[in-house]
Symmetry: C2
Amino acid sequence: MLTEVIHEMLTDRQLFLLQLLVNDYVVSAEPVGSRSIAKREDVTFSPATIRNELADLEEMGYLEKTHLSSGRVPSEKGYRFYVDHLLSPALLSDDELGNIRHAYHERLSETEELIRVTAKILSEFTNYTAIMLGPELLEMKLKHIQMVKLNQNQAVLIIVTDTGHVENRVVAIPKSINADDIEKIVNILNDKLNMVPLYQLQSRLNAEISGVLREHVRDYKRVMTLLNNSLTISDPEQIFYSGKNNMLAQPEFQDVDKIIPLLDVLEGKELIRELMSMPSNGLHIRIGRENKLNGIEDCSLITTTYSVGGEHLGTVAVIGPKRMAYPRVITLIDMVSKLLTENLNKQERHDR
Amino acid sequence: MLTEVIHEMLTDRQLFLLQLLVNDYVVSAEPVGSRSIAKREDVTFSPATIRNELADLEEMGYLEKTHLSSGRVPSEKGYRFYVDHLLSPALLSDDELGNIRHAYHERLSETEELIRVTAKILSEFTNYTAIMLGPELLEMKLKHIQMVKLNQNQAVLIIVTDTGHVENRVVAIPKSINADDIEKIVNILNDKLNMVPLYQLQSRLNAEISGVLREHVRDYKRVMTLLNNSLTISDPEQIFYSGKNNMLAQPEFQDVDKIIPLLDVLEGKELIRELMSMPSNGLHIRIGRENKLNGIEDCSLITTTYSVGGEHLGTVAVIGPKRMAYPRVITLIDMVSKLLTENLNKQERHDR
DNA sequence: TGTTAGCACTCGTTCTTCCTGAGTGCTAAT
DNA sequence: ATTAGCACTCAGGAAGAACGAGTGCTAACA
């Protein structure tokens, strides 16, 4: 790969050095000097030569110095180039592969559990933070609706989706409505709304169903406001975190003043929005300021997606320092998202 | 209060000084010296006198020095004495009172939501971390059980409790069992298990119900293992955190090496066990090493409980540094737990 | 006898100063 | 084109000085 002319300006040796330097910096977290590069067995030329090359790479914007006489550190452009052209996926040891597969063999029944396990594996094997966006609630389709009366005034409204997800909320039941009414209402809803995506529930209710209800049910008005209130799906995403505290172990975040804003951003809604705005297929990497979001300028975000039956279901993300073990994370996130997809489809296959 | 002889060994002036010193240290987080105490308006005697008194208090074990010539800091014994004898509950400003009451007026429908709001208020108004243990699932009683078929092989089992809580799990349905069977099973379960506490479900199933099932249902064996698996309530507690990151702002946890173990403990199961082991009524304070749990030696834990209809429901806890604003936290936790109880009982009252 | 002023002493903190070592760029020789 | 050599830079650590907030103790005082 190195022998091809990838970028018109860079010689093979420069490519080689850039790759070496990034690899080195990723593990050491210290600026890399010419001497330490020259010490490597596979480097035949002298520190002086390396200095010349590194100076050129710096001039072209791939490297930076932390101060006038320091070693070099990759710039964002450098990372970007590395990620785009110099990266070869990491290999996992048999041990690790075994452990990962093992974790999936435990239980493949519940979607949520599967996602949670995936997040945990990702964060534990990368030592960074994993964030998973679950299947979008709004895209799920209604499988069954049910009302269970708790007492004179309250009932639980239960919505089961085609994926087996269960939403529920407590609703106040007006005195004017009795058990028979409720049964009637629920029957109508189940009849008319079967397999309707949740985001359409409300509009369908008001368009098609209100008429039917008016005919068959007493106190039609109250029922409608009740249903309107409870069929609003407010929380559009399920979010699973794992390894939030892993960030604290990274040398770039030893300073408490950096940790607090970072953790705040990590848990904040903006990050989720950012994640949702990522392209919805394939693997994507955002390095440092490529994330428009404030507070994670020193972080990189790697995302991919998982799906079932070809349908986009959710997002898998790893966030870590810019100085990230990209090859390893890429391999892991790719593997894990495929395993997740695979397991979800295994469930699905049973269906038909 | 000060004029009574509370502790045979301590003079009124010593009590006064101890109280002053703790109050001061709680806000400043710096060892308190004789001079700074003497500066206060309500202190009429000189630094030298204060030094003598503080030396006595130190001898008796209520105070400590961080080094030979430093100011004094309360010892755990000092905090304990302060908490037991010197504390007067803090007053909240009308503004704060208003805000708190306002937060509760929003929605009083869902138990979980109510608990979550309470945790948020506590952490925001104390600037420490709030942990709430929700109603013990196992104590809840079964209100309704339901199975919704998702596809050929899977169904969702839904358990609704008397409190409106909904548990659900995906179960695999053996081919030998059809929709009619399921309906029969569910009807039997609803009939026999109504208002049975969740922790009894399994034993009741095996004792009383297995016989009935054997008579009415095909493939009795598979059904029993299926039910046995899914009626095991694994997660005995609902836990709500709020303000986990507030700890990071405390001066005693500026050091990253202290933060990591602290956050780990905070999220760990041992702490929850510790919380559950607290006496189940009234307000309780554990200072520093009084918590047997490793990792929170420098923290204090204040807990109380909330209930509905006189029945113990769950635990409210605030964890912060030993150097905690005890009066304020006590006032807040007390107030908030009462508001929570009140609101829960308001729901309850509707029932009868 | 309890209180206080005075004083010597301790020790953490901060500010310098100095030194070292790892790094650089540049120049001249190979 | 490469490299040895050299002067230069700069972060980081060590050593020391000065500071100041605190102490305990003693002696004087009301």
